[in-house]
Symmetry: C2
Subunit: 254 residues, 2 copies
């Protein structure tokens, strides 16, 4: 099995290194990942600037793949269109430092990279690790758990271009309680900004750290993850609101 | 009616100026938009850097709103949480220079700003103008067409947080053929990269200009827009693949 591995934390991030070590047990892994951290960049792509590309070695000085001075989605595009000699069987994005559940799925560069893989009709899986305290995180243990889920996903007959979002709960909350298949929570998060004035009198705002989802629906990724379950959510990228579409087609337009 | 107007082309972009002039006929418009161009940034948000904010005047030196050194989605968040004295009735994003149909909906900063408005349960509308040749575009005429569609949307009983994506066809293709309510096309685009070597021997890639959707489904935004129709697509931001979810819940997980 040929695996394309990417992320949004950067090519040398410990989460990617740990996941690569696990994925090498089940396939041939090529990394094409951003040169630096690209968190919360969503589905950004680079149309108006050059994408510098450099071959990179792993911690044992073995060839690992490429670092791209671009976004996670750029990495997947470039890998599939230019860099890889043979197309991968699966695109995996992670292991992200921080969960990507609820509406954060839309902000996430990790998930966007997997969506980009699905655009190309590749089976694509985003994998993230919740953290509840500052790092360091136990990526090695989390990557084992991630591999177990990935193997189970790939053991089933799945459609071409199937897309999955996997979250591993913080390992500091105690033993993993199991695996739950759950939809994305759609409630908004509680957010705050801190208003400040710079030394030249200009106003600026910092996004506050209290980015929380106060009351998630019980049958969702945010809820199950908080309860200590690994969550698996099948995703799609058709944003059409189908029910409303039918209603609106009956309107008289002028 | 109170209207929050944003975009991804920047606070001084001609498309925003033209749309603002039209929207002032139907409501009180406050602009909160990026200080500079932010195209194809998707649903990026700024968590790790300060968001500088500056009040801006319009072409007649009248107060217009705020410029934010951030992403389109940051602008909507900041407007709703910090900058506006009163909550808006509707969030409008545009008028974008370039269409946002098909999978481009996911790359688009214009649409992401509208999705962000919907996160806050505000009626939100993204509006884009296709171009088939280099600028300048007839934004004044396109903004009239956009206002007509926006007024019709708001005349109907729509759910809290309803979200719409509107595209105006290139006005150089001839008369507008009408308004079509259509789903998002989901096919991938044809893309190319141009491989080059910099003066220091480093490899880089430029995204090519032939970013096309070769064979869109007839009942989609991409197709109808190409045919010269204004397209209206109701959107949602739950990416869960519901049918697959039910199948996967029956799997034996271990």
């Amino acid at each position: 099995m040929r695996i394309l591995l990417t992320n949004d934390d950067g090519v040398y991030a410990p989460g990617l290194r740990a996941l690569r070590a696990e994925l090498k047990k089940i396939g041939t892994v090529t990394v094409v990942a951003p040169a630096g951290e690209q968190s919360a960049v969503g589905h950004s792509i680079t149309l108006l600037a050059p994408l510098l590309v450099q071959e990179v070695l792993d911690e044992n000085n073995e060839p690992m793949g490429w670092a791209v001075e671009g976004r996670p989605a750029d990495c997947v595009k470039l890998a599939l269109l230019e860099l890889l000699d043979e197309p991968p069987d699966v695109v995996i994005s992670g292991l992200n430092a921080g969960s990507n559940a609820g509406i954060n799925v839309l902000y996430s560069g990790t998930v966007a990279a997997a969506i980009e893989g699905a655009f190309f009709r590749k089976t694509s899986i985003a994998v993230s690790l919740e953290y509840t305290k500052p790092k360091p995180l136990d990526f090695a243990r989390a990557a084992q758990l991630a591999r177990n889920v990935i193997e189970q996903l790939l053991d089933h007959p799945i459609a071409e271009g199937a897309l999955f979002n996997v979250n591993i709960p913080s390992l500091e909350k105690g033993p993993i309680r199991g695996i739950r298949v759950v939809p994305q929570n759609v409630a908004a998060y509680t957010e705050t900004y801190d208003r400040r004035v710079d030394p030249r009198g200009r106003v600026y705002f910092w996004s506050g750290p209290d980015f929380r989802c106060p009351d998630p629906h019980p049958d969702t990724d945010v809820f199950a993850l908080a309860e200590g379950y690994i969550t698996v959510t099948p995703l799609q990228f058709n944003l059409t609101q189908a029910a409303t579409l039918e209603t609106m087609r009956a309107w008289k337009w002028h």
